[in-house]
Symmetry: C2
Subunit: 343 residues, 2 copies
């Protein structure tokens, strides 16, 4: 067991962000690592996953989990190593993933341990990959595209935030499913990565003034599936090209997460009626009963090189609040991670 | 065969309505009833069905069929009697339903005949019922609620335009399916009909200033299915009370059909994401392969008194354009029909 002099740094939510997250939204405090009671486990956090949903959790709005309360440790997915255990089911050295929080150490009792998953050992799959393509990120792409999108070979898929963690996997799953895949991303470099390395059929830089024309040209037969990560004008532009019986997979609406109202990401539903579209929201936990099957497939495709992935890694827990804004600025490519420690 | 001196009155689309339909949008002309060629059938129209979709067909907008062209006979569903036939598959006296148009007679060649259905003889089911509860109206309610809505016993269903042709059937199908059924309608008299005669659990008059509070009280466990016929503020109010995994069945958005843009009926999709809602459009033809099964069930329920229906019948083809506006003014209860003839 660690001695009590070991310190646990924690980001605790101090104020709710009005628009962008600023460092002052948190108190960055240090506490002694608590002693373990019977049944408890102490986890040394290795990697934190930075996700758009972190921003949602900071807002006191309707959402799929309760928002983080003022004073609580900031909620976040991560991967850690069991540093000490008074629980027979976990031994020192086990790697676990779950909601470890923005802190150096996570102390888990019976309730928290139920929410953690032990990581399997898969040759060639690193912790970083388990935090991304072979973890919640990959599962989000997998369930969203396959379960909600219900793709049929030869259809056209458009994915927004295509160079992001989820989007880049979605497009590759689309190619595995025999789809015509068009990505929308925010720089020429990202677009090049999508077409040259990830085999997207086309990639469109929405910062170019004629991107809507480019989208038209890239989708001559219309769009059957919109895997939507962004919302706002991008979603509405894609929406106008949806085909009869098209599906809009609502995975994220990041363009509005820093807004104080929900005026963005409203769609005129007359088209959904006339074209018999299906617009459907989901979160990855909805399909938890299929996780094992899905992770097995994802890990296989990663091992075979059919799914490639990139990570943008920021060193140091202390940088989490500012790094989070990269998701909103398009600063990252692939999965955005905080490296907390090597212990 | 009728002699050529028999006249066929027709409404031909002259101008597209800007907002409400006005008589001047049509030319009301008289032509000789044409002679029949081999294979053709002449149908004497008996009843025209007035539906919100008539208004859609008049507008040059994106829709599920091409709009009526300027100069064409106004498109409309109806029921008629074969008055003369040079086709072995149709004999004088047969009753048929289909897109007979706003006219006295419909001359059908090979292509048109494929789109017509012969009416079966069902004891106690009148032509008016076949134009409504046992026809396209009933089928719309049936497929929308059961196929798109996927109701589960004990869930809460809200239906808008609940005293209309489709809405009144939807609510009764909801009761047959074991749902808690709340209707939204536009007068105290309509609401009384819904609760007293059709066994809705509650009915709310949206013209009362506190109707939103009434909706809250009538749906203490939230709303699982919104069968949406209206759109606009009514839809958005219902939307705010949708439960996790709720379904929004997009059947109609009549509040916007007289508008010149699609600014109404936009929903903020953040809720759909957080609550994992499914918003899905459909039209009755999407399920045509199940028509026979569905009509059999509907006719049985009608015969058993489990589905009650009302018709608002306007006499005279010449009144079709003005009568159509009743749908937008809430003037009708149940199915709105034009009686063209008794021949």
């Amino acid at each position: 067991m660690p001695q009590t002099k070991i310190k646990n740094r924690q980001f605790r939510l101090k104020t709710r962000p009005v628009e962008r997250v600023v460092p002052d939204n948190f108190s960055f405090i240090e506490e002694d690592v608590p002693d373990l009671k019977d049944g408890e486990v102490l986890i040394r956090n290795r990697i934190l996953s930075l996700d758009p949903t972190n921003r949602i959790w900071m807002t006191d709005m309707e959402q799929y989990m309760p928002p983080v309360e003022i004073g609580e440790v900031m909620r976040g997915l991560g991967i850690g190593r069991v540093a000490a255990s008074k629980n027979p089911n976990f031994k020192e050295g086990d790697f676990v993933s779950g909601l470890l929080g923005w802190q150096d150490f996570f102390k888990a009792g019976a309730d928290e341990l139920k929410m953690l998953s032990k990581l399997p050992e898969v040759p060639g799959v690193t912790l970083e990959t388990f935090a991304g393509a072979a973890g919640m990120t990959g599962l989000t792409a997998y369930f969203g595209l396959l379960e909600i999108g219900q793709p049929k070979q030869g259809e056209t898929l458009v994915v927004s935030a295509a160079a992001g963690a989820v989007g880049s996997i979605v497009g590759q799953l689309g190619k595995i499913s025999g789809l015509n895949v068009v990505g929308i991303a925010g720089s020429a470099e990202k677009c090049k990565w999508l077409t040259d390395d990830l085999s997207f059929d086309a990639a469109i830089n929405y910062k170019e003034s004629n991107w809507k024309d480019q989208l038209k040209k890239a989708t001559p037969n219309g769009i059957d599936i919109d895997f939507e990560n962004v919302g706002g004008e991008i979603m509405e532009t894609v929406y106008q090209r949806m085909n009869l019986f098209g599906r809009i997979v609502l995975c994220g609406l990041i363009s509005g997460y820093n807004d104080t109202d929900d005026s963005k990401s409203r769609l005129p539903l007359s088209s959904a009626l006339m074209k018999r579209l299906r617009i459907q929201g989901f979160i990855v936990m909805d399909f938890a009963d299929k996780n094992v099957e899905a992770i097995t497939k994802l890990a296989t495709w990663i091992a075979q090189g059919k799914i490639k992935h990139r990570e943008t890694i920021v060193n140091g827990l202390e940088n989490a609040p500012t790094a989070l804004n990269q998701l909103f600025d398009g600063g990252n490519v692939g999965k955005l991670l905080i490296k907390v420690s090597d212990d």
